[in-house]
Amino acid sequence: MEDYLPNEYDVVVVGTGMTESIVAAAASRIGKKVLHLDSDEYYGGLWATFNFDGLQKWIEDLKVSKTSTKDVSEVDLESEETFLKTSNEYSTVENIEETWYISNDADLPVVSSKDTQTDSTGDGSGSGDEKSDDDKVEKKENVKQWSIDRIRKEYRKFNIDLAPKLLFARGELVELLISSNIARYAEFRAVSRVATFMDGKLTQVPCSRADVFANKTVSVVEKRMLMQLLTSCMEQGADSPEFDGFRDKTFLEYLNTKNLTPIVQHYVVQAIAMATEKTSCRDGVNRTKHFLNSLGRYGNTPFLWPMYGSGELPQCFCRLCAVFGGVYCLKRQLDGVVIHKNKCKAIISGKQKISLEHLVLGQGHLPPEVVTSEGEQRISRGIFITDRSIMQGEKENLTLLYYPPEQPDQEPVTLIELGPSTNACPQGLFMVHMTCKRTTNAKEDLAYVVNKFLKAEPLDPLAIRSSIHSHTQTVSPDKRHIQEGDQDNRGESTEESPKPQVLWSLYLNLPASDIKLNESTPSNLHLCSGPDLELDFDFAVNQAKSIFESMYPDKDFLPRAPDPEEIVLEGEEAPGPKFEGDTEAEEKQDVEKAEKED
């Protein structure tokens, strides 16, 4: 039995993806009556995060079609109304391929791991040896071979993202979370290092001032070059006369005029701007600026990772929407929309016809009649559970790597590795997410990067790898040496370290995010795209903003929501302009904090 819902709303939102949820919250926040539906029993759609069990179930469910079986004839239409059936064909996930590389047998011999450090030359400071004996003892007890059973058993300790994304510390989403006071619903962790592949090995990119200072792979003059370039990108911006001659040139062409050394150029292009040979100068400068602006706000890299996965974030907005009276209904199918005089007048859901002013649809709920292009920016994804970090050493709990294509027919791959204390997987395991633009299918598209960094072959139960538990973050940053670091502790190398063994992998293809509606689409029907290829959430936030603006051009987009204790019930003293002062103070603190931090 479906819940009976009131029949009239200002805004009906279908789908609980990122964009949909932001729009729902924004509309509810300004007092609009909002109904938010999702046909799934979980939040997020293609933006969702699952534990291991949930993911398995999701894979299973994909095999069952959820398309409405409702026919026009069943719909009660008035005159001049037309009914358009919705379809989920624009959210189709393809080429799912799940593989286990380990055995199901839970009775593998227990391995003691005495050599926690011996196989790593990367941890150059050598101070890892200072771990107390207690640590080692505990570790021995802990070491147990991972098996399929064990992973399934510990399913709750996994948080697996369909669309993993990072937040720029000063990106659109962080600013929105702060300005709207939604940040209190979420928890974040700073990405601990940005890596790049250079001269045959992975290196940590010096991105903060502290990193540049301590870096030993570049000379002092190169340090100045790097800092100078970064500062000029950040302070001047792409419109500065500095870049006048390069309006129609690439970022690379601009950099070539700066007499940079190859290593400095590499850092800037591949790790900071995350650019390719084709990136325009303007984009390159803006991307660099974006990266740098976000540095130093919450740590030594510009990125934040949402604890418990990206799927948490749409839910934060849904909570706000609900606080302001939004009505939620999961597992509720949208059957179709009712059009009247080129206006979307209502939706049909089950037995109900619900009228509305605005209809906001996630891309999995569109009537095919309004779609003009399915889009091209389709996505290949790979998810891997591994036994160690791709770049062993300190700071290995959260790594970002941008890997540019080796061949012309390949696409750049964004790799996010989640380690200890990210809640993505149990202690001792790592989760690697790879994302790139789809050309063939996920497995083929990602193969060159998988081969480069992972060992994706079935594990021979006899050749037991011994150091599953080896590198957790035990080296305190205080122990770093700059003077006498026996080896290059910043440019950690993986040359001699074995590649991470893949225990489990999942490949899938997500639909395109640049789907387009045709011009005759009713103007009160708003499309929310699925996850895009970019690293951050800016696309979703901006899309939500522009949807909101077209719906309510004169209203504030998500003004600061009061803290729970600030909400005064009717009859009591009205919440005055009190918080405004508070916000100022907070902002000031923020600035001061930032000033202090770097």
Binding site: C207, S208, R209, L230, T231, M234, E235, L292, N293, L295, G296, R297, A594, E595, E597, D598
Partner: protein, 334 residues
């Protein structure tokens, strides 16, 4: 990557010196005894009075103050120990003992208190290593050394302490940059440098410092806004205009800072509505910054109608001359 910035932008227009307003600000400060800020600063009342009265004297407004009330208050603040407290019922401390003695010198009324007892109190503060404690509880700090030596010299009783040891302690507080901190090992700080140089000036030991090195550090306190900070990479503040300038004056190198720019900064820190100076343009004014804004202008030898300030004692020069004190300065040959 935030760009590090430790300076401020001066407002587009800088007001003239608003002497009348400053005088009114100080004269009315605390007239309403219930005023919140006034009461909540009771624990430093004596110093507050010294700041206000010295500033008023510099502006030629001393006769408008309530001399008798002040003297009576000070007499009541002297405790059995000889030391003087910040306020009634509070405890004696060397900080407030100096403030009280300074006020009494300005009013030419040292007989208000029991001087012998003050001398005894200060003498008892000296430790075997030459340092001074602030009160009976044992905190040691360069400020207390200065307070002790300044107090005794104002009373012409420097002979009761071991001056050589006191100087030795100061020299133990000298740092790698030629500056001084609050105790051995503590980072250099313009306020502490003033205390150290002041002490060396009173005791005739300025030859012990590397004046070039220290003065360079001091003149590096000047920021593009013209204002001075108290330590590297800190924001400018009017009170450092005094501490840095007085030390530079004593060291004979006042010309190492840019006077025009500094005057502009100090003037920009005036509260054009209610009078008084604040630490930086736009902040709340208070007597402390008002005194140091005015003393800075006095030291900079501008043409403003301000009395000359003595850089060692932070008291009007005429008072120091009346007491026949000649603290040493490096820009005077003998």
């Amino acid at each position: 990557m935030p760009v590090l910035k430790h300076d401020i932008e001066l407002p587009a227009s800088v007001p003239e010196l608003l002497l009348e307003k400053h005088a009114n600000f100080l004269l009315s400060y605390g007239t309403d005894k219930d005023e919140y800020m006034y009461c909540m600063t009771e624990h430093m009342r004596m110093s507050g009075m010294y700041w206000g009265l010295t500033a008023l004297d510099l502006m030629g407004k001393l006769e408008q103050t309530n001399r008798n009330e002040v003297l009576e208050f000070i007499a009541q603040c002297q405790t059995e120990s000889g030391g003087i407290a910040a306020s009634l019922q509070h405890d004696p401390h060397i900080l407030y003992t100096l403030s009280a003695v300074q006020i009494l010198c300005i009013y030419n009324a040292l007989d208000t208190i029991d001087i012998e007892k003050v001398v005894k109190y200060v003498k008892e503060r000296q430790q075997p290593d030459g340092s001074f404690t602030g009160d009976i509880w044992g905190e040691i700090d360069m400020r207390f050394s200065f307070c002790a030596v300044a107090t005794l010299s104002l009373l012409n009783r420097l002979d009761v302490i071991d001056v050589e040891k006191a100087v030795e302690f100061v020299m133990k507080c000298m740092n790698f940059d030629g500056g001084f901190g609050s105790k051995p090992g503590a980072e250099s700080h313009a306020g502490m440098i003033y205390c150290s140089i002041g002490l060396l000036s009173i005791t005739g030991n300025l030859h012990l410092v590397d004046a070039d090195q220290l003065s360079w550090w001091l003149c590096e306190r000047q920021l593009p806004s013209g204002g001075l900070n108290g330590r590297p990479e800190k924001l400018p503040d009017v009170c450092y205009s005094w501490w840095v300038l007085s030390a530079l004056t004593i060291l004979g190198r006042l010309h190492w800072v840019n006077k025009e720019q500094l005057v502009k900064f100090v003037l920009a820190c005036q509260d054009t509505e209610s009078g008084g100076f604040s630490d930086r343009p736009g902040d709340i004014a208070d007597p402390f910054h008002t005194l140091f804004g005015l003393t800075a202008l006095s030291l900079l030898n501008t043409d403003y109608p301000l009395k000359k300030i003595n850089p060692t004692y932070c008291m009007p020069e005429y008072v120091i001359q009346r007491l026949h004190l000649k603290p040493a300065r490096l820009d005077q040959s003998n």
